[in-house]
């Protein structure tokens, strides 16, 4: 069997105590493997530990106990931190607070500049990355002239210009309007399919989970459910008890089944539903 790109082994993480309060355990005994080329979605409501999980992947946080390895490097090992950050790029929630430079192209160049890549190669990577997120024509714009979705795509370009094996996206669509969300999701899926970049997508939007290869559901620092979107969304009651919604179509399927229609569990897309309701086609 292939060696996983990211491996969490019995990871516990406790946030440092503040103002005399007890330190809060944000991750409890997490075991997780992510393989190269996978698209993994992490679901959970606020405070479920999903962001903490994300920050462990590129060593912004290191486990209180247990071990996280990325491409064979241990994140707790100070010497391999830069190696890991080059392999795992991270996109954050607020599109404004992660762009550093005054023009789009300079911002995309920021990562490779930090790595000490020669100028000509930086130029090549900047253009390729902007092309990949469909923002090349904006390369001389300043970030505040862009929409939220465009800013987030620039942030993604800034990450892929470092040629990472994996991108971790920490609720990248939480602050965007529906158009922006759609743009960003399309970009992420394309990067995963065409460039083979491993994606760890953290979200609380159910609709964004449907296209994933695998879904991980977190609650109170633990992984409570793991499987394909179909498997996960067939557990409607469990999801509801975790204060998570299910996609609209799945919800409809559930209601219809309760009324005695024979609709299988875990129906996800509108097309599937149409085929089930009007099989004559």
């Amino acid at each position: 069997m292939k060696e996983p790109l990211i491996r969490f082994t019995n990871v516990n993480f406790i946030y440092a105590k503040t103002h005399g309060e007890e330190g809060q355990a944000a991750l409890k005994d997490v075991n997780l493997e992510v393989f190269e080329g996978e698209f993994v979605a992490v679901l959970g409501h606020n405070g479920s530990g999903k962001s903490t999980l994300a920050k462990h992947v590129n060593a912004l946080l290191t486990p209180t106990s247990g071990q996280v390895t990325v491409a064979g490097f241990d994140t707790s090992d100070q010497d391999s931190v830069w190696e890991i950050r080059q392999k795992v790029g991270m996109v954050f929630q607020n599109p404004d607070n992660q762009l550093v430079a005054t023009t789009v192209e300079e911002d995309v160049a920021f990562g490779p500049e930090n790595l000490g890549v020669p100028s000509a190669e930086i130029r090549r990577r900047v253009n390729a990355s902007l092309e990949a997120v469909d923002m090349l024509s904006y390369s001389l714009h300043s970030p505040h002239q862009l929409s939220g979705g465009q800013k987030q795509r620039v942030a993604i370009a800034g990450v892929i210009s470092m040629l990472p094996k994996c991108i971790v996206l920490d609720e990248p669509t939480a602050m965007l309007d529906p158009d922006g969300r759609r743009e960003v999701m399309k970009t992420i899926h394309r990067l995963n399919k065409e460039e083979g970049i491993t994606v760890l997508h953290i979200t609380h939007h159910m609709d964004e989970v449907i296209g994933a290869d695998r879904v991980i559901v977190m609650d109170e620092g633990r992984i409570v459910l793991e499987g394909t979107p179909r498997e996960v969304f067939s557990q409607v009651d469990l999801l509801r008890s975790l204060h998570l919604d299910v996609p609209q179509v799945t919800d409809l399927a559930e209601r219809l089944r309760n009324r005695g229609y024979s609709i299988p569990k875990g129906t996800l897309t509108v097309n599937e539903m149409v085929m089930l309701l009007c099989p004559s086609d």
Binding site: F92, D96, N97, A101, A109, E113, S119, V159, M162
Partner: protein, 265 residues
């Protein structure tokens, strides 16, 4: 309330003239020579020559005169003040006298000299900012300060701070506007009252602005770290500064001009 929409940072006017194409370091050094020169020169002939040189540079930059002159507008108050103070406060041969106010020849001449000096100073330095983008300016300052690292001048850090400031000025202005509107919607009044009252009415604006700015700073620091930032050591640049023959010629001309004018006038 679109008060902040028109704000542009710096006053850079993009172009492709000889002056625009010069390396920012050449332009920064030239501006410094100009400043020193203006304090060395002690006569109208000298100022005349400097003005002539400057006029040639402005011409070569192909920036409309109107933009260059506009840069002087905020300075009008200081100019008038300088002139009047010198006019009335200098002892010497009296031209005419109204009650206790004496206007002297010496005052007139010194006032005019100071005024000319200020005008040339502003024109010269605005040639720098008009033809150089803030980004280039920052890069130029960084490379010029680099030798100072040995005596503890944090060249890269200063440049990084300038870049981030430039990046976030529009963002923070937008935010200020948003908070202002929100507070006005709840009945805050920013326009009436005396100075003290107006200052006090700014508190509900400044507090959220600062709190947000600190949170942004925190987020940005994490994002920069995640993108492999670890200071200036071993960093490369997308656009390396190149000191070309054009720069050598320009800098040579500026130095020769400054030394000659400074020595003889």
């Amino acid at each position: 309330m679109r008060m902040f929409r028109s704000v542009t940072i710096g006053q850079h006017i993009p172009g492709d003239s000889v002056i625009h194409r010069l390396d920012p370091r050449t332009k920064i050094l030239s501006a410094m020579f100009l400043i020193v020169l203006l304090f060395v020169v002690k006569g109208f002939v000298g100022y005349g020559l400097v003005a002539l040189g400057l006029a040639l540079v402005i011409r070569a930059s192909r920036i409309p005169w109107k933009f260059v002159i506009r840069g002087l507008r905020p300075l009008m108050v200081i100019l008038v003040l300088t002139l009047t103070l010198h006019l009335f406060m200098t002892e010497g041969r009296v031209i005419f006298q109204v009650w206790f106010l004496k206007v002297t020849w010496e005052g007139l001449i010194r006032g005019l000299m100071m005024g000319t000096r200020l005008v040339l100073l502003i024109l010269g330095t605005s040639m720098l900012t008009l033809t150089t983008s803030p980004m280039q300016l920052t890069d130029g300052i960084e490379t010029l300060l680099k030798p100072g690292k040995k005596i503890g001048i944090p060249a890269h850090e200063l440049a990084m701070m300038m870049t981030i400031a430039l990046r976030f000025i529009p963002t923070l202005l937008e935010e200020t506007e948003k908070i202002m509107k929100a507070q006005m919607a709840r009945g805050a009044d920013f326009q009436s009252g005396g100075i003290m009252q107006r200052a006090r009415s700014l508190i509900p604006l400044l507090v959220p602005l600062f709190v947000n700015a600190f949170r942004r700073a925190d987020d940005l620091a994490i994002a920069m770290e995640a993108r492999g930032y670890r200071g200036g050591e071993g960093r490369t640049k997308l656009k390396e500064l190149k000191f070309q023959r054009l720069d050598a010629v320009a800098l040579g001309l500026v130095i020769t001009f400054s030394v000659l004018v400074g020595a003889f006038f």
